[in-house]
Symmetry: C2
Subunit: 541 residues, 2 copies
Amino acid sequence: MYSTMQDGELSIAQLLRYGSQVHGTSEVATWTGQGCRRRSYAEVGRRAAQLAHALRGLGVTSDQRVATFMWNNNEHLEAYLAIPAMGAVLHTLNIRLSAEQLTFIADHAEDHVIIVDSTLAPLLSKYLPQMSTVRHVIVNGGEAGDIEVPEGIEAHSYERLLADQPTEYSWPAVDERAAAAMCYTSGTTGDPKGVVYSHRSIWLHSMQVCMSDSMALSQADSTLAIVPQFHAMSWGLPYAAFMVGASLIMPDRFLQPDAIAEILAAERPTFAGAVPTIWQGLLLHLESNPQDISHLREVVVGGSAAPPSLMHAFEENYGVPVLHAWGMTETSPLGSVARSPAGTTGEQAWAYRYTQGRFPASVRARLVGDSGAELPWDGRSVGELEVTGPWIAAKYYGVDDDEKFHDGWLRTGDVGHITPDGYLTLTDRAKDVIKSGGEWISSVELENHVMAHESVAEAAVIGVPDEKWDERPLVAVSFKDQQHATPEQLREFLSGKVARWQLPENWAVIDEVPKTSVGKADKKRLRTAFAAGELDVSRTE
Amino acid sequence: MYSTMQDGELSIAQLLRYGSQVHGTSEVATWTGQGCRRRSYAEVGRRAAQLAHALRGLGVTSDQRVATFMWNNNEHLEAYLAIPAMGAVLHTLNIRLSAEQLTFIADHAEDHVIIVDSTLAPLLSKYLPQMSTVRHVIVNGGEAGDIEVPEGIEAHSYERLLADQPTEYSWPAVDERAAAAMCYTSGTTGDPKGVVYSHRSIWLHSMQVCMSDSMALSQADSTLAIVPQFHAMSWGLPYAAFMVGASLIMPDRFLQPDAIAEILAAERPTFAGAVPTIWQGLLLHLESNPQDISHLREVVVGGSAAPPSLMHAFEENYGVPVLHAWGMTETSPLGSVARSPAGTTGEQAWAYRYTQGRFPASVRARLVGDSGAELPWDGRSVGELEVTGPWIAAKYYGVDDDEKFHDGWLRTGDVGHITPDGYLTLTDRAKDVIKSGGEWISSVELENHVMAHESVAEAAVIGVPDEKWDERPLVAVSFKDQQHATPEQLREFLSGKVARWQLPENWAVIDEVPKTSVGKADKKRLRTAFAAGELDVSRTE
């Protein structure tokens, strides 16, 4: 017996139509270095139609890929909406990848057009000669002449291309499972892998972002989307904002702490999302440049584990609650969100909020042990997290990866435990776990404790070979300006916080923790540096 | 190009699995007249498994229909979850319908089993002899002997049936578009029509209910679901609550103002949903029996238009915001919700909140004029509201109704206008349904019954304002030559043909029913005559 209900239209075209009509007065504002340039969602709707006409004029048909090489800004939002709505596929290129990775990705996705910010044109122009499928480059915020293009590629100005195009477009009907957008993830090994989001997965994920127990995005919000649009779709914030009419504030290329502080002061957003590094930087800046940021009803932090010290500093010094969340490119990315259960307060509530949080109903999770057996949710048993759900990848684009996907589950590569009431604590990346004498040591836990020390700016912990124990932790630590602590002092600081046998004895002072293209600690580089004898390691006892 | 995303499992089985595990300590509480009896969601999960085993034991296979004839209570929640999760179809019977309507509905849906509250057993037993497909009746809160059943129907006790059943069930995989639940709506003309909700539509609707700009249901809520579970699925509150772990408070049969006040005092819910009549009754009660109800963060009112006076009284006298919403059985029912736009205050905000509100992104709406042309959203042009979306009916069960559905749009039968920013105001009903205490009375049905009386020539029924019930029917009747019947006689004639509460108390004898140019009863003229005091109305009791 089938239902009598409609399928409805879970599509980016409906999102665009809806947001630009019902929430036509909401707006997207892009920071220019001094104030914002703004467009209403009604204008975004008209310009998205113009962009679609322009792209069709450049030969974009059916599900061709149109890439972006852009910061977070007004035009990137227009691309987010117009490209999938016209039935083509938005491909967000991570500007921070290497030439090799970027040319591989553009070729693999068969990008036909790239829209590029004029400020990034010099960077892109270096890669263009190696990109074999690109035929058009559209310069946002500049002229066609602002980018050097090789033979066979035509350059255009974004604004000139849009000018005089009709402001309405007859958006085609699309299958909800059709590709809408894609994003490559640079895994630990081998070539980057493409995750292809569907209209359906984006729609459902956007609803989740606006649910009260997730990010609770609403029409009343103005949302500072710091997390790049080329990084897991800016955590879905642009689409979610259009779904409910929340206004968007885009930082463009201004991601330094002083710029973020300026944007906060000028625009007074109610919500913001960024990785811990950004928030750490802002906190440091605010220490010497105090400013009221209590207009933020909440900030969400994800991408890597939020150090408790960061969460306390925001809440206790500035009155801004920090919402800890977990996800990855393969999970759209909203995987879990750490709100404490109703009725908990004080230390008990904090203990819940330090975790990676609870899964929403759409995300099914399980823990799998070394033997492949499913582990209980007892708050102790540690295994690899596997997830499944309507915004979780089933595979990578054009590549088989049986290591990562099996029986309909995604192997996250994250290791941790889950409480009986569904709170996930990640103790490590599967590859970063330190195996000492048959026991596991969580590098994340050590990092959190070290970073709670007042002198420490950043810390990253890796496992290094040890004759007796197989592996032992090495702490790479950087200090705040003018501050320092000895390894002995740090070890003393840790004692009592972790088991005695987990206390690290290898320490290296570094200038800063190397970062990956998406801003996470690059432990691979640290391990390479250690192996090459490039770290100055001191041992405590 | 297809996406690489999973479909995920949008199913009641996943809802049940999730809510009973991740939110196992949340609870459903049912009012007993003195305090509540409670079950944790973990227990609900185990009992739902037991119920599924029990139903399978009674021969329920595949998509057979299992009906409920129940108040809102713990076991009704178990039925909500177990029946669709096992792949069968939950059919909520509206206990307030007439014998004729109920037997028609049970036969039309081919109900195999009915679960009945012991307090409703005497009522149901009167209808059972006419229900031709029912084979089993399960008495909740009583023994098998508590209901009189005709030959061919077996009676059971709910608790005895569940006892000793396994507390786990291997829930089958279902197509997300498969039938999960059905609810009949007594439309304006003819027989009641069935709306069949899918697993998908219920899932998406539940997400919407929990979105910040809708009802914002969250894990921190305890939700008093006053709107009956047999009335548009209690507005989706039970499913939404299980999706996020909000606790549920069920009033069972205790719907009188003093009982509701007692439940509020004892359980201090944070959220509640009911039709205006219930809230009006509560306000009257509170006037003479003051009580703090500020534990309610918000109450939602729908089913018929909320009088502004009601909204002001709640907010100004008790500090409880009233959220006005519009929907219907065919829309699952969440259609629109009246939150004022960010930045509005005072009278301006109130003006928005009086409306039927804004549509969410999943519900597409249009206004259609008499000519069939689409009308602009200018806040003035009045037309019939049509909607489409993933929780909107595409048709009725087993009946073609081209009047109601066309081109993928549902004709709502409601008439109104929409502002440029998407706020709907309903001004009238296209048809002449009478809304009494949140339930619909079909004027045509009453007319048909009255006109079946031997003395009656013609009859036309209109709704007239009523302080307590919003509207009550007025029967304008003309008699055959030389014949007559008193209002009391006519009312007596109707009794048994329609539900008791539908029996009209307002009567006017007229010479003939005024007609439109195409020969239909001109109810507009009748209403005008009534309003002008030109009808000689007598009241029966």
